[in-house]
Amino acid sequence: MAKEMRKPIESGCPDGFQYMHPSMVKNFGSWDWHDHPRPGVLRHVSKSGDEVWTVKAATQRILDVFTLRKLCDIGDQFADGFVRFTIRSNIEYMVSDALKVDPLISALEDSGFVVGGTANSVAMIAHTQGWLHCDIPGTDASGVVKAMMDELIDEFKNCDMPNRVHITTSCCQINCGGQGDIAINVQHTKPPKINHDLVANVCERPSVVARCPVAAIRPAQVNGKPTLEVDEKKCICCGACYPPCPPMQINDPEHTKLAIWVGGNHSNARSKPSFQKLVASGVPNNPPRWPEATAIVKRILQAYKEDARDWERINDWIDRIGWPRFFEATGLPFTKFHIDNWRGARKSLNASTHIRF
């Protein structure tokens, strides 16, 4: 470019201490214990005797500047002008004075925010971009989450679950949303439809071929033009070819479905971290409110709430009661698709007589 450009300052990740609540700076590394005075509120006590009361509130994640400023106003009024955001995009206000907690909560609730999401509640659902921004989404994660949280708001506001429940959603099979106690994920059910006219211009064919996890794509010629073709018998409909090659359209208004997975757990608490497992598929991708997905999530939550013991995460609970009982308790069908056939699948088979009747 002709005009002289500004060189970036490669400062990287900013120091957080400059924006940290003074009591947290002061007691950095000296916290002693915490408890849960009420849902949405944590009390941390430092070895110095200092206390910090944290109030956690959920927002719509995708904030407009009005909402952001509203959150700032509340922070200025009650919380010394400092906030932080959690990994689940909740906002946290820290106050040193217990008396400020209730007014702060009222202010938040009056402004439409939802206080909760601590301890053994259903946490805010982690989610991704969807139709609002991504180039490959099969659904709109923000919409699914909004519709679902409308129905799970009580579970967010209260701490009635045996242990915390971490729900995640993702808007394509890439799964930027990660995995969780319950995950609502896109599952394509038909191979991509190829727009052969575009492939040659848009896609680097060898790297698309290389991207397929099951080697189902091969170079081909259609109408004399180089393109790609898919062995539909092999294709597992994962959608991995679509980002590097948009003419391999995988999203389909009807055949792109949702699937529900349970038992993912990243913490090392009790057992080692575990992967989530498929429990329901073929769930309609039904905007604007996706009622079928929500209904299944609610059935799972209810069975868990009724049957699990304190501190059992969903995976711990199922470990104890076994999968046959899980399907019984939730009324979900067990099909041949539940039997894994991906790498290492044998380890998922029951090589024992350990059976609950």
């Binding site: 059910t189 409909c237 497992k277 498929l278 073929g282 104890r320 067990f334 539940h338 991906w342 090589a351």
Partner: protein, 421 residues
């Protein structure tokens, strides 16, 4: 003893030291003390060849083809590669003979077998090989037929060798064990004797083994060593004799009871109550046997007994060890129809595998290759959540038949409910 020159066996002699019974001393007895010269000679040359192996750290036997009239298998032929040096044991075949189910013997029948074997063989015998055969070790090619004819006349038959159904195994079970949930004896004989043709005439992709254990302790190692494992279990609540239980607690102490039993339960489904009584959450008991093993006087299997069937176990060769996995979570084995049903399951399995297994491919390796679901479809058994430890973990699967499959499940549920109701 003949005056033929005895081979020096300095290394083997070392195996006569020590308190444990020595197989070398046994072979030497045959060499030195047996009235029959043939046997002395065989034993002498056998020791000679074995000493040679110890010195050179190599084996010197090779295979070949030997069988009895009408059969294709059941004998492990051995010809010496150093037969010139050790001529009298140059042919040293092993006959694999099926023992009575449960390995019960009268001393009479043992003596009768010893007599026959002495007549035709080396005088060395093993009760039993790892697959469960009586192994009559060391016969010349000619004598195998004579020996077989003689013992076959009084009720003994060869087992398997080669790509065929093999000799089965069953635990002592109901004959002497309170844990037994099945008639191991009958299961064992029903299954293997349904396949005598497949035992004697090797024509399958590879070997196929049945093993039967009366309870999940699996004293027959069936889950790891059998293509089809049948294991006794129960479906209702375990039986608790609270008085006997409390007696145990008061004898051993509460702490001991908690540490050795309560906290060892894999599903944590036992509670020791304050009055020392025991509460079991039977729906979550996985029949692991631990508590029953520790306190057999107080705890026993329930009344509603049956078996679990697992398939595909084997050791290392080709793809690494495989444990068998659950194919039939539970079935009753009481009526003759029940026994017909289990025979049919075995037949369907062997048929499907015979058609679809590759050469030298065990049933478990085939399942691994084609996937459990295809195998189940092949033997016409429906999927069941008891077959898995965990559902699918990978989203890499095409599931456009989901709705149809879901319907099947609901229909089966409705059927079994209406059958139960």
């Amino acid at each position: 003893m003949t005056d033929k020159k005895q081979h020096e066996t300095p290394m083997l002699d070392e195996l006569e030291n020590g308190p444990w019974p020595s197989f070398i001393s046994g072979i030497k007895r045959l060499r030195d003390e047996h009235p029959e010269e043939r046997i002395n000679g065989v034993a002498n040359d056998l020791l000679g060849q074995l000493e040679h192996s110890y010195e050179t750290r190599k084996g010197y036997w090779k295979g070949g083809t030997v069988s009895v009239y009408g059969y294709g298998g059941g004998i492990i032929p051995r010809f010496s590669e150093v037969g010139q040096q050790f001529p009298e044991s140059r042919e040293f075949h092993t006959l694999r003979v099926q023992p009575p189910a449960g390995n019960h013997y009268s001393t009479d029948i043992l003596r009768q077998l010893a007599d026959s074997w002495e007549k035709w063989g080396s005088g060395l015998v093993t009760f039993h090989g790892q697959t469960g055969n009586i192994m009559f070790i060391g016969s010349s090619t000619d004598n195998t037929q004579h020996f077989f004819d003689e013992i076959n006349d009084y009720g003994f038959d060869l087992g398997g060798a080669g790509p065929c159904v093999r000799t089965a195994m069953s635990c002592v079970g109901a004959a002497r064990c309170e844990q037994s949930c099945a008639n191991e004896h009958k299961i064992h004989r029903t299954l293997v004797n349904n396949f005598t043709d497949d035992v004697h005439r090797p024509a399958l992709p590879y070997k196929f083994k049945f093993k039967v254990s009366g309870c999940p302790n699996d004293c027959m190692n069936s889950i790891e060593r059998a293509d089809m494992a049948v294991i006794g279990t129960w479906r209702d609540d375990m039986k608790v004799d609270q008085e006997a239980w409390k007696a145990y607690v008061s004898e051993k102490g509460r702490q001991h009871t908690i540490d050795n039993i309560i906290t060892r339960c894999p599903t944590r489904c036992m509670s020791l109550k304050d009055d020392d009584s025991l509460e079991v959450d039977n729906r979550n008991c996985v029949r692991c046997m631990h508590c029953l093993n520790v306190v057999p006087k107080a705890l026993s299997p329930g009344e509603d007994k049956g078996v679990t069937i697992l398939m595909g176990g084997k050791r290392t060769l080709k793809i690494g060890d495989l444990m068998g996995t659950v194919i039939v979570p539970f079935m009753k084995l009481e009526s003759e129809e029940d026994y017909e049903k289990i025979t049919e399951i075995a037949e369907n399995t062997i048929d499907f595998w015979a058609e679809n297994g590759l050469e030298h491919e065990r049933c478990g390796e085939m399942i691994e290759r084609i996937g459990l679901v295809n195998f189940l479809e092949g033997i016409e058994i429906e999927v069941d959540p008891h077959m898995i430890s965990d559902p699918r973990q990978s989203s890499y699967v095409r599931m456009d038949g989901w709705d149809e499959e879901a319907v099947k499940w609901f229909e089966r549920q409705a059927e079994s409910q209406s059958a139960a109701g």
